[in-house]
């Protein structure tokens, strides 16, 4: 907290606004929606923090970022200090500042938010993270002397990348194995450019590589190498292969041409750049009317993507109401601004197609909200006789993902729960000694910051484990 303001004055500062691309312009391009803060705006917003003695925001954050500390340094204009502080808690602030659901984590707890608007922690995290990316020399990664230990990380999503950084920092030799041709996990194949520019992920990856992390793409663990083969070669392993198995609706017509899982739709457009077809080789069906089923971030990303690649109408079909939608508040708001249409209290029962089996519509029923279910959200019930058809030519199914069994099926020694997620102890260790796991493969589809938290915790536990673990005599079967 700088000396510039008294508490009274501080309380008078309004929450600063993020400037955005105009909705009617941005819904036709893939450039980032949020344009970032100016330095003086960021510093002013940081002044709004009251430096509470018992900062509730910190306990709201799944990885307990010391928010008042970095905001304090920021308000003083000490950007390097703020960045150093933030990065010691959170390896990817440029990412989380953009994708964390702040309104249900740090910002909801902010004391200022009880009367008025909370401190814009997410915006400031993004600001400091981006500053750090542009000033690498001022926040160097301190790497401990080499320990001679080799560690493998499976999956280059936020969980794997965070663990890799933490392990490298502690002097271990880290190799990350990634199934796809590009590292980043959901951050590159799922979350679109307009929300999280790929450049940010690439920058983080290059920072890891500079710190000595080796990233090996096109390598599918469970196929190219098994976990047991990696165990013979590496002193410890962290598995963070995500929850990348799409769930379908299980309704008639789901295999008609024009029905995509959100994973496929977004992968084609993001990872494979289908929006640039024919400059990029991978195509995607350009629906005139696109119906996306679901109410989470994945659904918002799909519907907003559809609009950007030219859909005249892009609709969200959700079984509950706006209030229950699990997406980040900002994404819902942005989707509304961009002209996405919402059909609430509606559930699909069938995909309708023509004689050539192309999608022509989505048959739905209307729902009403009944008693709360296990998740505490009101359970939707069908209103009898309420069937109707939403005309559309592309349907995107964004109703969730499950654990991908490819890796676990080839390593029966890994204990799983009934949904196929890997079971770990408090240290993040699986039923196999020296093999740790975290992120969506353990939690089911969750969030970026939770995956990162798991990566960080597991890295610390692995470091402890490696202090006493036996040294391997290696067979050099895994040539990387």
């Amino acid at each position: 907290m700088s000396e510039k303001y008294t508490t009274r004055e501080r309380l008078k500062i309004d929450r600063q606004k993020m400037s955005e691309q105009d909705p009617q312009v941005r819904n036709a391009n893939f450039a980032e929606v949020n344009l970032g803060l100016q330095e003086k705006v960021a510093l002013l917003e940081a002044e709004r923090c009251l430096q509470c003695r018992d900062p509730k925001c910190v306990s709201g954050c799944p990885v307990m970022v010391n928010i008042p500390r970095f905001l304090d340094l920021l308000s003083e204009g000490n950007l390097a200090g703020a960045a150093q502080s933030l990065l010691s808690d959170n390896a990817l602030p440029s990412v989380t500042g953009r994708v964390c659901p702040q309104e249900t984590q740090c910002e909801i707890e902010c004391i200022r938010g009880h009367k008025g608007l909370p401190v814009a922690v997410g915006y400031l995290e993004r600001y400091v993270g981006d500053w750090a990316q542009g000033h690498r020399d001022q926040v160097p990664m301190q790497v401990a002397p080499a320990t001679g230990r080799r560690v493998a990380v499976v999956g280059a999503g936020p969980g794997g990348l965070t663990a890799a950084g933490e392990l490298a920092r502690r002097g271990h030799e880290v190799t990350v194995f990634e199934a796809l041709h590009k590292p980043g996990g959901v951050l590159v194949y799922g979350i679109p450019e307009f929300r999280l520019p790929k450049k940010i992920v690439e920058d983080e990856v290059s920072r890891l590589e500079q710190a000595g992390v080796k990233i090996v793409c096109n390598t599918v663990i469970g196929r190219t190498y098994t976990i047991q083969e990696l165990r013979a070669e590496f002193d410890a392993i962290f598995i963070a292969n995500g929850a990348g198995l799409p769930v379908f609706m299980n309704v008639p017509g789901e295999n008609f041409k024009g029905v995509y899982s959100a994973n496929e739709y977004l992968t084609r457009v993001n990872l494979m750049s289908a929006y640039q077809f024919p400059r990029a080789d991978t195509p995607v069906l350009l629906g005139r009317r696109v119906a996306t089923v679901g109410g989470g971030n994945v659904a918002m990303d799909s519907a907003r993507t559809a609009k950007r690649i030219g859909a005249e109408a892009s609709m969200i079909v959700y079984r509950r109401t706006r209030k229950e939608m699990p997406a980040r508040a900002e994404e819902i708001h942005h989707a509304e601004q961009e002209g996405i249409e919402f059909e609430f209290l509606v559930a699909p029962v069938e995909v309708v197609g023509n004689e050539k089996r192309w999608v022509t519509g989505l048959k739905c029923v209307r729902m009403k909200l009944g008693e709360p279910d296990a998740s505490g959200r009101a359970r939707p019930e069908i209103i009898p006789g309420s069937e109707f058809v939403i005309p559309c030519d592309v349907v995107v199914v964004a109703i969730g993902t499950r654990a991908n069994p490819l890796l676990t099926a080839t390593c029966p020694e890994l204990k799983l729960n009934k949904w196929g997620n890997i079971v770990v102890d408090e240290q993040g260790m699986t039923s196999l000694p020296g093999v740790f796991a975290g992120g969506d493969i353990v939690r089911g589809a969750a969030t970026v910051i939770l995956a990162m938290g798991d990566g960080k915790r597991a890295a610390a536990a692995m470091d402890e484990y490696l202090k006493t673990a036996p040294r391997l005599s290696r067979s050099a079967a895994v040539a990387v």
Partner: protein
């Protein structure tokens, strides 16, 4: 990077590339495939591992140049390289333990049948292969398959081997009895015809499916096929399935999803905007 070590034209539009991929060459099993990613901006394409030389560290990819992406691949020359090859993917072929096997290969599918016949031969299973093509120059992998067992070649126009479809030859062979398992790979109508032959005879038949794929790891569901009324992902649950339960109509239909795009890509390519042309 995976260097092209050798290149050979097998038929007017089928090319064999022997590509450096030491790990895959070492551990691949019959029935498995790789996802090939030529370069940034290219499609990810699934290709069966037709053969491998573990000593040299190469795998053989047999590519039918049908669209822009496959044409870009076959335009590569020895010394050039493919950016990414992921694999081996998919489940290995279920090879029978005893009895006699019939392998039926149509067109480029013959290259997929080859590793299966190799695997069978290694187990000491007698293999009879029936392979075919439109005419003589379209028949591929005949010498390789001859080393593994008896081969009957069929051509539609009778310019080589016997005149007629592979299914005609298969019908006769199956009627003679003594076949315990059929492996059939080729165009969808061919696989369907073989399955229709073997179903009434009760001869188990494995087919290899080639739906559209993106990741090849079970992440996108684009490769979904219906088998026995169940939705399965060909890249992880297959690509080989019990032919008697495959919904071939559904497969055929979904394979047509991007037809219009393929035409547009080819036109762009002919207008000189090919990836390889730009290098």
């Amino acid at each position: 990077m995976h260097e092209i070590i050798a290149k050979q034209g097998l038929s007017p539009n089928v090319t064999r590339l022997d590509v450096k991929a030491p790990r895959i060459a070492q551990i691949r099993q019959p029935g498995q495939f790789v996802i090939v990613h030529l370069a940034e901006g290219a499609e990810r394409i699934p290709l069966t591992i037709a053969d491998a030389d573990p000593e040299r560290g190469t795998i053989a990819l047999v590519i039918q140049a049908v669209g822009k992406s496959t044409r870009d691949l076959v335009a590569l020359e020895p010394g050039q390289a493919i950016a990414g090859i992921a694999g081996p993917l998919g489940k290995p072929t279920e090879l029978i333990e005893k009895g006699r096997a019939l392998c039926v290969g149509g067109g480029v599918g013959t290259a997929v049948v080859h590793p299966i016949a190799q695997g069978l031969k290694r187990r000491g299973i007698p293999v009879h292969s029936i392979i075919g093509g439109r005419s003589r120059e379209w028949v591929i992998f005949e010498p390789e398959l001859r080393q593994l067992g008896e081969v009957t070649v069929c051509t539609d126009d009778g310019s080589y081997g016997r005149k007629g479809f592979v299914t005609d030859a298969a019908r006769e062979l199956l009627a003679a009895g003594g076949i315990d398992m059929v492996y059939a790979v080729g165009p969808v109508p061919m696989m369907r015809a073989v399955v229709n032959l073997t179903r009434p005879l009760g001869v188990p038949t494995i087919v290899s499916l080639n739906p559209v794929m993106v990741d090849g790891t079970g992440m996108c569901g684009g490769c979904r096929v219906t088998v026995g009324g169940q939705t399965l992902f060909a890249c992880v649950d297959g690509p080989e399935f019990d032919g008697h339960h495959v919904d071939f109509d559904g497969l055929m239909d979904r394979l047509g999803t991007y037809r219009e795009f393929e035409q547009r890509a080819s036109q762009a390519c002919e207008a000189g905007q090919c990836r390889v042309g730009l290098h």
